[in-house]
């Protein structure tokens, strides 16, 4: 959909630009601690809330799967809300747009940043979940769970980057982010929860249902393509 002619030969390579942007994201996050600590803490607190709300000491199977994924989703939404805030407030969009760097570089760097947030979140949330609420042992379930987490994270990243960019320059960015991303994330939740419930079953752990993983992967792919196609239009002033 670009109406411009091809980039001049002296434009910097996308990989260099993405690397530089990632370095910036990492530095800013490490120095300001805006997103990741909040997400991680929130997930643990939510587990505690679920304990009291469901009045259960241990969960397994579908219930465990559901509680884990809903918690991850809500924590992710916190991260999505913060993803573009620094750029919107400190003029990062303009600075980027003024450069000859390819627009997709910003998409890649933000997607990778959100993925990094999610990985750190899960490093806290999954053991936390295993400690507080999960009845069966985590270790044997881990490979299957990791596969589901990987695909689920991809879905969250794809939708989250799009919605984050969409919501950040509106007047109600903190409300619009969750409102728009959660319905779009329901299929991710659906497939991920279904895929991980046999893995977290209390009796002999079931096999990973490939059907749901495949559906999730397809969803990730389709919305990945859509995000890639429309992202540029969100960057313009």
């Amino acid at each position: 959909m670009r109406t411009t002619t091809s980039r001049p030969a002296d434009a910097p390579r996308t990989s260099t630009v993405v690397a530089a942007l990632l370095r910036k994201e990492l530095r800013v996050e490490l120095r300001s601690f805006e997103a990741v600590p909040a997400m991680s803490l929130f997930s643990v607190t939510t587990f505690v809330l679920f304990h009291f709300a469901l009045q259960r000491n241990a969960l397994s199977g579908e219930l465990a799967s559901g509680v884990l994924w809903v918690t991850l989703l809500f924590a992710a939404v916190l991260g999505i809300n913060r993803l573009f805030v620094a750029d919107a407030e400190q003029g990062g969009f303009d600075g980027f747009l003024l450069s000859p760097a390819g627009r997709s570089a910003l998409l890649y760097s933000k997607a990778l940043t959100l993925l990094a947030y999610l990985i750190v979140l899960e490093l806290v949330a999954v053991p936390g979940f295993a400690l507080l609420l999960l009845q069966p042992a985590l270790w044997p379930a881990l490979p299957g769970l990791l596969a589901v987490l990987a695909l689920g994270d991809l879905g969250i990243v794809v939708i989250g980057t799009l919605v984050g960019a969409l919501a950040v320059r509106t007047s109600v960015r903190d409300l619009l982010g969750p409102m728009v991303s959660l319905p779009l994330l329901v299929p991710v939740l659906l497939c991920a929860a279904r895929a991980s419930s046999p893995v977290l079953a209390s009796a002999r752990a079931g096999a990973l249902p490939l059907r749901w993983l495949l559906t999730l992967a397809l969803y990730d792919l389709v919305f990945g393509l859509i995000t890639f196609a429309v992202f540029d239009f969100l960057l313009e002033d």
Binding site: L162, M179, R194, T215, F233, L234
Partner: protein
């Protein structure tokens, strides 16, 4: 430009709807299981189909808007989504009534169409707040188009996924669209589909005409006033602003101002 042939269109729609209702009530036989209540199927399913097509059209108009930067496409997308939201409420209400009549509950999670619709409506309900939250009209239109495209793609995918998920829960499907219906049912069903489709199109054209006329009126007023001074600061609005074609190569013919 949308006002042409509006009256014949409206009359045709009215006639089609009347015919459909008449046939549904007097000609089509009563269903063996559900009796008279089954007739709501003639409204519920066509409403659902038309609504979904409307949302998808909203997405297609969004693509056209991003490509041409013409505000008319944004208006088309806005009206389509707006109208489909209203029709969508109708889907949920008629579906709920039907569920209550058939199974005694107002809501049933194992009915895939209703569940998909709930999700879609929750998503599209954010369209207006999104637009309202952006003041710059051009950016508002652009962001709305991006949303319309994403949500438009979401509609069919979501349908497929929810259907897949309820397939494992013994779905109690309220209405089967394919040719499982015997003769008379089919005739009335397709007639109803056409009528409700016409209804959507007529309402869409009415709203487009009205918005277009208002934009032309404003443009004329501006011309008469001769200067921008007289325009008061516009109230914040989610409604697209129709301006002359936005691209530098545009012909400026959108609103009829003789530039």
């Amino acid at each position: 430009m949308y006002g042409k042939r509006l009256r014949p269109l409206a009359l045709t729609t009215f006639a089609a709807l009347t015919l459909t209702l008449a046939l549904a009530f007097f000609w089509a036989p009563n269903d063996a299981d559900q009796g008279f209540l089954q007739k709501i199927f003639y409204i519920h399913v066509p409403l659902a189909i038309v609504t979904l097509c409307g949302f998808v059209y909203g997405g297609i108009a969004g693509i056209a808007h991003l490509r041409t930067r013409d505000s008319r496409w944004d208006m088309r997308s806005y009206v389509a989504i707006h109208l489909s939201l209203v029709f969508g409420v109708g889907v949920l209400v008629t579906g709920s009534i039907w569920a209550k009549g058939s199974w005694g509950v107002w809501w049933d999670w194992s009915e895939p169409t209703l569940v998909s619709f709930l999700l879609i409506m929750l998503l599209y309900a954010t369209y207006q707040p999104l637009r309202f939250a952006i003041e710059d009209p051009e950016r508002q239109a652009r962001y709305a188009s991006v949303f319309a495209i994403t949500a438009g793609a979401f509609v069919p995918i979501n349908f497929a996924i929810v259907r897949l998920s309820t397939a494992y829960l013994h779905p109690r499907v309220l209405g089967d669209i394919s040719g499982n219906l015997p003769g008379r049912f089919q005739v009335v069903f397709y007639l109803s589909l056409v009528s409700i489709g016409l209804l959507w199109i007529t309402l869409w054209r009415y709203e487009m005409t009205s918005k277009h006329a208002r934009a032309q009126l404003r443009a004329l007023r501006r011309l008469l006033a001769g200067d921008d001074d007289d325009i008061p600061a516009p109230r914040r609005s989610a409604v697209p602003v129709l301006t002359a074609s936005a691209g530098p190569a545009g012909d400026g013919g959108g609103v009829g101002s003789p530039r």
